[in-house]
Subunit: 359 residues, 4 copies
């Protein structure tokens, strides 16, 4: 007999359902009796005891379904130690619900913030397994997070569509890709779709370099240019400021423009007279059916999580390392962000082909 | 021996290449000698004599390719009678190039504006065939334009993606769909993807009705609401103003917000406290590979255009009327916009199911 | 208060769920109390009283889901009057279950066979609405059936994939498309994907004409040829025989080959020495998520069915006629097959472009 | 100044064009003068001096295009040393053409067989770079081949479509996946699409185990079962025979049935009375646009090949090893097949969840 709790927390992404299906099928096939408690809307459900008992039936047919059958919400880690408006201690409340249901383990699907709270609960003595989900692929200790390639597909398809329009009209287009702090999604979607300029937070850009890339293309006979721009792209001059001032300057920009892409568009337009169009696929990048790559990854992560539970091996993140699913101690990775190294091979490969990073 | 000119004009859309392939294959298979002159970048190429001679080879393999191998540009009809910066009379120039190349016919692919110029050239004595392309489906005299269903697919897929995210987060989402003057694309994409609220230019909206639709859903247990909003959506109060003032008021809004969707989001947020997200698929709706529906429609339109040319039947738009491809005199339809009738069956069907149009 | 029964019968197709959602949302939004009885696995559920009571919740989120939440089965019309193995009169049993549940109406989703039984139940005095589903688009009285365009998409995508391989290898490929009696699906998928030869049941083929089409392409420099072949394609010589002998001859072929495509492949190979590959997408053509076209059509058909029920207008098929949803008396159309007219415009359009029909 | 030859050989797959684009853009951006000779239809073009000079323009816009702009053909390695029908020594001929064009390097895209000939040419003193393409992912020395994930996507989508139909009809379906000798594609597509039974060449199957898996599902309330079967699946009894007899027995089966799937279907049907349907996506798995994963992989492989050429580093396969692109000496890997280890983690993960491998 095994009792587990399940929750999905943080920004929505694809393959959450597929992962939970992996966990539950992996357990149900190996124990006589399994009780699954699904906490609703992330940590909120665990704090306030809002849960549903789930059966195998609930996990049937959800391999390909986007979203999460449990709902999700953002519960900032830094507020976890702050009592709620009614004075409730959230950590205590989570522990009480865990013990009241006599759970053998709590399986938590989420990104960086979620992971920190998961580690906190581990430190508080709960049996925790963390499964790394995010379209940002920014979790330390794993080569890949589920959700990432599904988001790459959506962003790349958007740029593909823009490609035919840009080339017909000889226009400059900006496609804004998700990613406030890290550029993996923009980098991969940009390479996948043949973007000419890729701007990511890790490589602050110089607007003149972008303009010269556009002009160089024109000289070679390509009248159009496509820029894949991460939400968190940042001008070199601002990035060079002390952190506080940097934040202030970026805030000024975001007061004036819906996002950085619109500023870049205006800057290019002013300098070149070209008409620039901005496209923002936005939250579509988090939705829809997971791609086969993610379904395989998340199924395997789920199944390996079941193995850990069966072995009573707790306190781990289930990670992909060199093509194998491995367990990584939560304490080793919690809170560590994995950004793009500007010297990484992917960027060298892209630069060799003439893709500009605005640096 | 047949000599034809081809040009694509106006906003880019899918199936332009597929249509031209239909024309050329339909002719090449039926005449001993065919000369095809492709004018580059819309009417610009015809005015300035910028063309390429094309062979069957150029049309091979382009059935599924988005964009246009000829390039396109927007050349406003109302400026056609105005000489260019060098004093060149554009209409004269177009006629001269037509006669110089001894064309039997000029095949023009484009939307409403393009059609007006096509009709002008017809009045000037040229042999013209107009093929109705636009993602807006707003051309009078045809039930359907090619490009429309491909755009519906893209917009509907975007809303599908948003659906999984909205339901996981219990959020209100706005997806902005192309269409400044007519709402066909928003109406069809909205129905196709299960939008809860659909706002189109032809039915001015009352923000209170939208808010009460959101609240009604909440009461029934649906924490999320999806709004499909046309670019040209307009508040009832503003729509009721005299045209001049109306334009002034709308201009004010578009000075303050990137588009009407952002204003609607803010208005809902102010009233309800809900967090609203806006997604703008933008020009992706014009790009990518045409869907099979459009490939069939455009292939048939192209092939029927070839038939008209072989029969020396000129001065027509090639249209889809009750499932059959028919020829429609250009003079009967040029310049007539086909908007959504608020009393049409599609809207009645949608309203019966509880979809709100904000009216 | 309204009580309806729902059932889906015959071969599976896309948009069955979308259609039922349309019916139920159209009713639920307009009556105070609605009871929905879903009969399981087609007429079987109605005969044996196997049903589930369904709530609005059951129809939420199923717009994009393939298959049918009610299951389906094939129950031949000609056996409806034959008692089952236990001596049960099936028609009586269906009537009894209808009356026992005091249904106001029975909504039946299905194709030609299903429609005949639906009409029989109407003749027996039940209130019936029939909704035309089939990937074959062969139902008389409606311009379009839901499921058709989704199947066109899948078949066309398969041919698209084959296209790149065929052209890389300079090979002849046969893609077998569903359709035993009618050729709509093959015709539309073939045009949509640029097939060079299209073989349909309505136009018996001459193998020599096919071979000469392949050779003609070779002479013009195209080393590959793609044939879209309907399951029900038939050689001219056999089609000319009296019906009984024709069936015998076709049966002989299907004893020797998995399907007609393999015979055509062998015949071409023998004559030309070319290596021919056969691909059979098979039941994939019935599955997966309905395309936006089908979601719109089926939603509208469902909503209009709700209207008929609210108006107590029974005994109709809900059809698409010239772009409008209309009611068509079941007695006028039941059992009438709508095949492809060899003289129809689509075929003339295709032939003009050089597509061979093997005739 | 750099002169390279390019050729694509063996079975077609996705991302061949994307890879060649990577090589050419990687070089063109770094040398003053680049000459690219494209040999037509694999080694055939190299043997008979059939080539085209290619410019950057030829590689523009082909990132997303399936097939190969150079054409391909199968030229068995074991016949490379056998003179052709005119007595021409093929290896000599290839060398002569290489030297006549004064190539700095020959870049060869292909699978296992292609690789062996590439290594032979290396032994003969030519500068060779081999790029590992195949939908089978069976090349030793690289974690991944381009083409594989695109094929996984197509096979998984086919099974997805079958899923909705199978569940609506409560039927047993077999989807036959490509792979004569290795099971990677079937294994990954099967896991990605939730197949219940996966049969691969590396794990000979016992028909009774398959039937008991079907029955077990029935007992648990799942009326349908989906089998993903590799082309090269083999019954345990036959696999146990000495190789010669094994081949004879398999040949007997393939005389009687179009493929092993049809035999498995018949065997299940005989034993259980169930109706089994077989679907064969076939060559669609090799075609169509490469998925973003493959576009990134092949772009990087192409760009790293350019790096090797610039560094005059020859005699390597460009491989993906632990997420990095690396060079692997051709002599170390040529001719080594990489099959699925029945004890690998993926299979353990799948078995834990109750997926049967028929063993």
């Amino acid at each position: 007999m095994v009792r587990i709790g399940l929750l999905t927390s943080g920004g929505d992404c694809q393959a959450l359902n597929a992962t939970m299906r992996g966990v539950v099928k992996g357990l149900a096939n190996n124990v006589d009796q399994l009780e699954v408690y699904g906490f609703m809307n992330g940590y909120k459900g665990l704090i306030y005891g809002d849960y549903r008992m789930l059966t195998s039936q609930d996990f049937s047919g959800i391999l390909t379904r986007g979203g999460t059958i449990l709902g999700t919400s953002r519960q900032p880690f830094k507020l976890m130690r702050t009592p709620d408006e009614n004075g409730l201690d959230k950590v205590d409340a989570m522990k009480q619900n865990y013990y009241k249901l006599r759970l053998d383990c709590l399986v938590i699907l989420g990104g960086n913030g979620t992971q920190k709270t998961a580690n906190l609960l581990r430190e508080e003595g709960l049996n925790i397994i963390h499964l790394p989900k995010t379209i940002d692929n920014d979790i330390s200790g794993t080569d890949m997070t589920f959700g990432f390639y599904s988001a790459v597909n959506i962003a790349a398809e958007a740029i593909d569509c823009i490609h035919t329009t840009a080339s017909s009209h000889n226009r400059v287009f900006i496609v804004e890709v998700m990613g406030h702090k890290v550029g993996w999604l923009t980098l991969y979607a940009g390479i996948a779709s043949g973007a000419d300029v890729i701007l990511i937070p890790e490589i602050p850009y110089d607007i003149d370099k972008i303009i010269s890339a556009i002009n160089k293309r024109k000289e070679r006979g390509s009248g159009f240019t496509i820029l894949a721009v991460a939400e968190g792209a940042i001008p070199k001059k601002i990035a060079a400021l002390p952190k506080k001032e940097m934040k202030k300057e970026m805030a000024k920009i975001l007061e004036k423009y819906p996002s950085i892409s619109y500023k870049i568009a205006e800057d290019i337009q002013k300098e070149t007279g070209l008409e620039i169009r901005v496209t923002v696929p936005g939250h579509t990048q988090r939705g829809g059916s997971p791609c086969p790559y993610d379904r395989i990854l998340s199924t395997r992560i789920g199944s390996e999580a079941a193995k850990l539970i069966l072995e009573k091996n707790f306190g781990y993140m289930v990670a992909l390392v060199n093509g194998k699913i491995k367990k990584v101690p939560l304490e080793d990775v919690a809170g560590k962000l994995k950004g793009v190294d500007p010297e990484c091979q992917e960027i060298a490969d892209a630069k060799r082909m003439g893709i500009s990073f605005g640096d």
